[in-house]
Point group: none
Chain length 242, copies 2
């Protein structure tokens, strides 16, 4: 795929941003690298004069931003989502560095839109938000002071995306089509339902079952056909149970 | 040379900066990437409350900054200086991209200190300033909007310097123990049994079901605990079927 076209399929998602100036800085950073799709999840203050001032010549990116109330809405229809996180997590998937993650995300733009998610300035992303995304990403920063400003972090990842988009790539192996975010969520909900019905999963005492399963299937990057096989299996189990 | 030592030999030089906030943002960007030597050439306003506020946890970098009145003073004693510039220049030397320039600068740290020079926010570097430095550098930005914020440009170049110096990998997260080959095979056999019993899988007409499932779970590199969760689920389905 053409590099500019690939960049046009990357959503930058800012979750629960506190400072409107950072929203403007992110829009500017995106546009300098040729990205334009900005999604804001429950921003503390938006629209704001400050965001528009900091966006400088990138007000078109701000004007076109989608504002939604949950991360799930911002990821609807995406083929792959990456979560930018500085912290180690329990049950963590292996983290990719910014450069590897940019290449990986772009390689999936042939399947549809992809997303790169940034958390709140102070608290970052919640464990739940990271779990919703399939791929944790870290910026290799100074371990003694890794506190990048939000706009700077967006700048850096968008730069890596641009570098990856413009780099000549070897022709890709034919890859089966990945399941969309919604399809994976539908499967996980089905699995939960079947597991509850069979008595394995107790919603009143969930332990870590669902996060574990979410992590496993997120790591696998399910294909469309695999989701339909797995759902067929679940349905066959349910029929017998009825 | 040791990577951290090499980074310690890079001066970031900001020439004629207009907005003190950008000086603070630059200090913060430097420190996140392990750089600490900041030189300010004729800043419009310094010291300032705003710079210290924007520096966040990098006030040590600001406190130690050298303030001089000419670029020549800031470059005194350096082995190589690079000028960050977006514009093409008449009679210009060939420009390097940020990534190449970072590698080139670092390769000269064995000879002594090196410098990376950033111009004024609005007017950039003068032709004379670029000429004083041996090496023009550009950030490969969107040709239709290449206006990076000064702090963002410093962040990006310092990141490339760090990547070049350390070629770092994310600290390995503690990884849960992977399932053995036999455990994975045991699970796949269990899945086949349960799927046959439920009627989803017909051994007489297997299609590609088992190879597909084997491929999916192979790709995921199952962990011990995941195998036992999945087998628990299967057992719960079987019990209901019986």
């Amino acid at each position: 795929m053409n590099g500019a076209l690939a960049l046009d399929r990357v959503r930058i998602v800012l979750s629960r941003t506190s400072h409107p100036g950072n929203i403007g800085a992110a829009a500017r950073a995106m546009k300098t690298m040729g990205l334009s799709r900005l999604w804001l999840v429950a921003p503390q203050e938006h629209p704001s004069r400050e965001a528009w001032a900091r966006a400088s010549g990138a007000i078109d990116v701000l004007d076109a931003a989608h504002v939604v109330s949950t991360l799930q809405e911002a990821l609807a229809g995406t083929a792959l989502a990456a979560a930018v996180t500085a912290r180690r997590r329990e049950l963590a998937l292996p983290r990719l560095h910014a450069r590897e993650a940019a290449a990986e995300l772009l390689s999936h733009t042939a399947d549809g839109e992809v997303a790169l998610v940034f958390g709140n300035e102070t608290s970052g992303l919640t464990n739940e938000e990271v779990a919703i995304c399939g791929m944790p990403v870290s910026i290799p920063a100074n371990p003694e002071y890794s506190s990048l400003n939000l706009g700077a972090a967006v700048q850096l990842l968008c730069y890596e995306l641009r570098m990856a988009a413009l780099a000549p790539r070897p022709p890709a192996d034919p890859r089966p089509e990945l399941a969309t975010h919604d399809e994976v969520e539908g499967f996980l909900a089905h699995l939960e339902r079947a597991g509850t019905q069979s008595g394995f999963h107790d919603p009143a005492n969930p332990k870590r079952l669902l996060p574990r399963l979410r992590r496993l299937f997120g790591r696998a990057r399910l294909e469309k056909e695999e989701v339909s096989i797995l759902r067929g299996l679940l349905t066959s189990f349910e029929r017998k149970v009825d």
